[in-house]
Amino acid sequence: MPTPDSLRLYGVELDSRLLLGTARYPSPAILTEAVKASGAQLVTVSLRREAAGERAGQGFWSLIRDLGVRVLPNTAACHSVKEAVTTAHMAREVFGTPWVKLEVIGEDDTLQPDVFALVEAARILAREGFEVFPYTTEDLICAERLLEAGCRVLMPWGSPIGSGRGLNNLFGLKALRARFPEVPMLIDAGIGVPSHAAQSLELGFDAVLINTAVSQAVDPVRMAGAFARAVAAGREAYLAGPMEPRDMAVPSTPVIGTAFLG
């Protein structure tokens, strides 16, 4: 019988290693079905201006609560330490969780994190009791600073948000994984297809956060299921210990005892 293999994030155990974003689905009903099909137990949410009298946010929040999943509020679209810290405070009150996916965007074309501001904001929030999930790059020194600042989880990007390009810097991500083997790491951003997710898990990353690849698929519910199976397969493969690639062929059929038929 396989041993339980749960994902532990800030003391919370999750069975699913697939985190799902809730943005850009064709409809609330499809979002609901996609979350169910993905098996995700943690979904990302955000805060936006509520149009007076519209109450769209209230409906969304009730939909999420009915799903019975944990939420990870983000600070998307924040460009400064102050904006991100204030947004985190507001999210903590609304969503009732100390968890925050900390994003401080440094550049609009790539949505690359401003890692200097990220570290500063992470330090402030960790000191205030937040449990910070920093959206970062694969930079080793930045990772070290984030851990020093109090982060206990890292969320390196695979490639730019919404780009679907997969793991853009394989060498850098492998180096990051190897440098901090004990730190839970989630690949956040850039995953386009289930094989990218499987690859992330095979490399030893602890989970993936997917949004656009599911919500913008022709059939998001079906794609959510495909991602769930890819993540499970990738994790199993990691635990099973993948073989080392080689440059030259090695016969898989034993050579000894080969008949001489020439």
Binding site: T22, T44, L47, R49, G53, P73, M90, V94
Partner: protein
């Protein structure tokens, strides 16, 4: 007085943040508030006095990635 609510100027009669939320139809909803860029917790809204030209942000749960 004139208050900017989520980027739009509005005439508000209420003198405090809790009253202003009621006035714009968001009383009793799950929202987070900030005045002039500073977070105002729900428990402090009744005591938070508003002044002419204040910038009020009212944020609500939304889809996010």
């Amino acid at each position: 007085m004139n208050i900017q609510v989520n980027g739009e100027w509005r005439q508000i009669g209420a003198q405090d943040l809790a009253g202003a939320l009621e006035e714009i139809g968001l009383g009793g909803t799950v929202v987070a508030t900030a005045v002039n860029g500073e977070f105002v917790p729900a428990s402090s809204r009744a005591a938070a006095r508003l002044a002419e030209g204040d910038r009020l942000e009212v944020l609500s749960p939304m889809q996010g990635g």
